[in-house]
Amino acid sequence: MSETLTSRPSLAEADAHQAGAHIDHDTNTGISNTKLGMWLFLASECLLFGGLITTYLLYRRPLEGPTPEDIFDIPFTSVSSFVLLMSSLTMVLAVSAIERREHQRMRVWLGATALLGAVFIAGQIYEFTAFVREGLGFTTSRFSSAFYTLTGFHGVHVTIGIIMLVSLVLLSMRGKLPEHRSETVEIVGLYWHFVDVVWVVIFAVVYLIP
């Protein structure tokens, strides 16, 4: 081509020899696809819980039936909330363990996390049955529907988290969770921490704000 043109390497074959052509297993952002995907999913979950929390705030004063003040046992729920928050600590220890290639330790901490989550769920089941006994059924009032839906939805999230944790332990015991897949543990951890953080918000909004 003529030198008067602002010509550039134009053949497709030149692409293979470009300096930037070696991507080297890396992503553009430096964050792995799965981790970025989990972050985006959690961002979406914020809006889901946002809708339910808004609904609860709108309906927290019932026209009939027990009021929040009548039934909430704040010391009990504080303890179960503390248990759930501690499970975030054990989750961190599990991630740290696999990064140090300590598989047995990781399984212990993952198991502890699942156990603490299960204790929280047991507390929630106890709480729900106690409330129903005190006359707060799911269909009793607008408050009862909003309360059970919001906290129940969170409980389902915790339960799914427990299933994932137990699955990780089983995978690890069968040797299918080697170090180079440790990010899977970290990503399940992200979900778990998110569920905990949401509970902090729910606990404050539902139980603590008068």
Partner: protein, 676 residues
Amino acid sequence: MALTEERPLALPSGDVETDYSPTGVFTRPTANTGWRSWITTVDHKKIGIMYGATAILFLIIGGLEALLIRLQLWSPNGTLLSADLYNQVYTMHGTTMVFLVVMPIGAAFANYLMPLQIGARDVAFPRINAFSFWVYAFAGIFINTSWFLGGAADGGWFMYAPNSGVVFSPTHGIDFWNIGLLIAGIASLTGAVNLIVTVLNMRAPGMTLMRMPVFTWMTLVTQFLLLFAIPVLTSAQVLLLMDRAYDANFFNVAKGANPLLWEHLFWVFGHPEVYLMILPAFGLVSEMLPTFARKPIFGYPFIVFSGVAIGFMGWGVWAHHMFVSGIGPISVTTFSLTTMFIAVPTGVKILNWTATMWGGKLRFTAPMLFSIGLVTMFTIGGLSGVMHSVAPMDTQQTDTYFIVAHFHYVLFGGAFFGFMGAFYFYWPKAFGYMLNETLGKTNFWLMLLGFNLTFAPMHVLGLQGMSRRIYTYSAGYGFEVWNKVATVGAFILASSVALFIFNIFYSKAKAKNLPPVGADPWDARTIEWMTPSPVPAYNFDPIPTVTRVDEFWYRKYGETKDGKLVRIAKTEDVVQKRTDGKGIHLPSPSYWPIVVAFGLPIVGYGIIYSLWLALIGGIIVVGGIYGWVMEPPDDPDLAHDDDHGPESHSSSDGAAHEVASESESSTQAKEVETVV
């Protein structure tokens, strides 16, 4: 649809595959042709084609519903449909067109084009991509089975409370609608995560964000809107589900419920929704206009940032759907102002498209005609939209046919015209043959005529006071003439869609006698046109390195010192040759996405009819997920055999591994770990 396209091998190498069954349930699928290859594919191009084909099937269903509506309104006191059936038909027309046609066609183009435009091998999570499609398809079928199971939903596509409660709508129609859209929401959400990660993480070397084609940008904005809008709808639908299935009190006015809660939640989703329907078409037009004007898009950063601005501002205007619901003067004023403001970035786009055409060497091909149709028709719809932002005026127009006219001008005249143009534009790239241009131009003029005959009279009808969603009207109000015009227009519109479908088969038959269409039939600008047509499974070989916007164009053309366009290379030398794809590592097909997706509607039927059925569906879903997790994203028997062999292409290795990164890739996790 030409779904039995001859395609090169989906799997990379010539190796003989060995059976590998990690869970002992399914043998890893290996078919590259035939129906099995379609139900197990994880190829973003095949999935994109399936999205488009399914959406066109639903378009036919939704179109027939529209024709029923128009026939019913042909004359006063129409008797074709009963009032009850009429409610079901318009509800399902709106639901079908929004959730099962326009959104999926946007997803079809996003799936097919976006990875090509950024120079990726596939999307970030190929199996989740297949899962999204199957969930959408099953959800659409699930919703439509309500016609045969006691009647469809009858509350309008917005399904306002408390009208949607069991008291006012005792059939299962709304349950099907509600659960079906909850399931479809899963498809949208997983699709959004997938496509966002793809755009952010998997761009070719040199493809910075501000070098991405405009359609890719609009896909990114659209998917972010989906990511945040869908969960709001999901939360509202969960409340409705609780009310209808388990007697909760969210919309039970007797227990103090506030029906405005539904309206707010629905429109917080619903207004971003209208932007996420239109933005993909905006992106497609921004690809077509520069191609046929032979000029760069005017003000690329403005086009991009106005799209992003629409994405943000779209969250602050929802209550303009609720001006007459009694939300109070402060709210009305606020949302009035924000609605006026959002016209600004939209107007920027219109101006940029006009300036792109200005002074260009315009070629009036079928895609160009549809693009110009979008710019003009959308402008009309946009102007009536600005009228609605004036609250006193909107109060007069609420629930009249003026609103119907407005949103059909923006969604049909806007989004659908853009999609039609893009079908003509990208058809040769996807299927290897051109659609007939004469039929295409006829298609355009018929559609333009039919569209305007159908919807322009609705402006008049609305201003005359004809209500929406009323199954019949009395004689003597002056509605007769315009309703007849609209009905005639609707049939012309339907014939134009029929002509398009005819064109697909006609052109395919004719294409046998024509020379194969090259990689670049339109002299286009962006790198997806460098791939052979139809695009091989591996997309690019090698992955191009990008140095600027419109990379492909500037590989073909340079400029003299005084700014004149000069060809610097032959197209045949710039585009890529079809290779055997040896050494390129692609994700392996899988049965699990369709299995998991199949379980979801069974859970849906279970919630409506019997919890035992829900249990069976749940077992399929959970079992499917475990099977999915246990199955490596890449067939280990294929991995790394020839990746680093003598014939390997240096630039393709990395991208192939990016594709392989879905969940538990064998090597990537560790590498990223060290990077992080």
